[in-house]
């Protein structure tokens, strides 16, 4: 017995939004994780970025890729001073989405990455793990390619001594 979905009743922007969620949520989450070094905060940020995308869905040009918009929005949300203050006042509980084994591994990695600044972590993750060109990563992080290279170099030096 198949379930029929009335596709005609769903707006095109709504479909595009759902597709952006399915395709890019892991990328948005990893970017948020690199910036915050905090699993629960990264999940929270990713959800809030998608809420912003939902609210803006009728004003966006969906012919362009949604990922850069999402990453820039995530960075802006992450640098929000009120958000930082709120998290400092109320430290988040351990994330429920992590099982114990992965949580223990995450704590080790987070400790090693903790010596890096958000921009150093994000620059390193975006270029070394996600494989983004320096220019594109710099655009998302709101800096120049030269500054990004310097941040990556500093990050590697710090990690070697970690």
């Amino acid at each position: 017995m198949g379930v029929t979905i009335n596709v005609a009743a769903v707006e095109p922007t709504e479909l595009a939004y759902e597709r952006a969620y399915d395709e890019h949520w892991p990328d948005v989450f990893r970017f948020a994780l690199a910036w915050t070094n905090d699993w629960a905060a990264a999940e929270d940020l990713a959800q809030e970025s998608y809420l912003r995308l939902w609210n803006q869905r009728n004003r966006l040009d969906w012919s362009r890729p949604a990922l850069p918009w999402l990453l820039v929005t995530t960075r802006r949300l992450a640098t929000d001073r009120f958000r930082q203050l709120r998290r400092r006042l109320a430290p988040p509980p351990p994330p429920e989405s992590l099982n114990d084994a992965v949580h223990a591994r995450w704590l080790d990695v987070a400790a090693a990455m903790g010596s890096l600044t958000p921009i150093e972590r994000s620059a390193l993750v975006m270029t070394a793990i996600e494989g983004l060109p320096y220019e594109e990563a710099a655009r998302i992080l709101g800096t120049t390619a030269g500054a990004l290279r310097a941040a990556v170099s500093r990050a590697r030096t710090k990690l070697e001594g970690a």
């Binding site: 939004y17 591994r105 990690l159």
Partner: protein, 122 residues
Amino acid sequence: MEPTRSDQILDEWSSVARSATPPGPPPHAATTGVAGAGISLAGAAVLVVALVAAFAVLGNRPSQSGPAGLPTASPSPSPSVAVAIPAPPTPEPTSTSHRRRRRRRRRRGDAAPKSPPAPARR
């Protein structure tokens, strides 16, 4: 070639981070599962409780305006404020009225009284 310490950390970071899964269906505006929305709902609930409590306290207080909302006499009279109202200035006689009086006296044959000395100007 042996991987460097930074490469090992990044490999582990990537492995752990890729185990993350979306927490549920995509969030929509109507979804209130976000922490911020939860806080605002809790704040609204606290506000409603505070308002109800305030109305209850005010409702139990003895009324100061007497039954049926009529104003009662206050126990102590309110102090009256004495306001000094200056008297309206009397119009000074003008030079034309002086001339008329002199003419009338001349007609009657009276001698004109001496006019008071003019006040020295400061």
